[in-house]
Amino acid sequence: MSENAQTETNPHAESVRKLASAMLRYALWPSVATATVAVLVSTLLTGTSGLFSSLIGVGVALVSSLATLALMRKTAAMNPMMVMAVAMGGLVGKLLALLGIAAALGSLSWLHREALALSMLAVVLVWAGAEALAFRKTKIPTIIPDGR
């Protein structure tokens, strides 16, 4: 492969995008299934307040996890220093957003906090486990450049 072709396709970026796709493929459906079960259990145990609280928790968990994968795709072609800056910025942004959500939900009297927290916990853990599994199963090549 010539140098021009290498810069055009950027095999490193391709492998990061491939991993992001695998992570999404592995994590999405188990997480959706877990979310459904969590919402059903919360509704059965605590009624309508549990249903809405659980939906909020599940929504926050899914959006947060999807945001990481979106960040991964967007920064695939950047150099590692920029990726570090973006990842740290993403983490700070996420923590601030969660603080905002906590402040907004803090005054709601109908909110069932345990339903929200435990539903979110279940989805986050399943998503993280599936991502780790996807990483284990995906083969990422070591790119040897021309002239070596």
Binding site: H12, V16, A20, T68, M72, V83, A102, R113, E114, I143
Partner: protein
Amino acid sequence: MSNIVLAQEAVNLNQGLAAIGYGLAAIGPGIGVGLVWAAVINGTARQPEAQGKLMGIGWTTFALSEVLALLGFIVYFIASA
């Protein structure tokens, strides 16, 4: 009932303490994420051909570190009840 118990019932500190706990819980993942990407930058500088592999490892461990921050948020909700 003692004065201390009466004072505890008059002022509910749970919300504030839970928020402080959430802030403290965010320190660990911050350090972890910094270490992960520092290692990725180091590794890429030493062996540029492994960049794709190192970025994959970096993003996976970043996601796992981030889970700790989300756990802090979850504990905040349970503790502030």
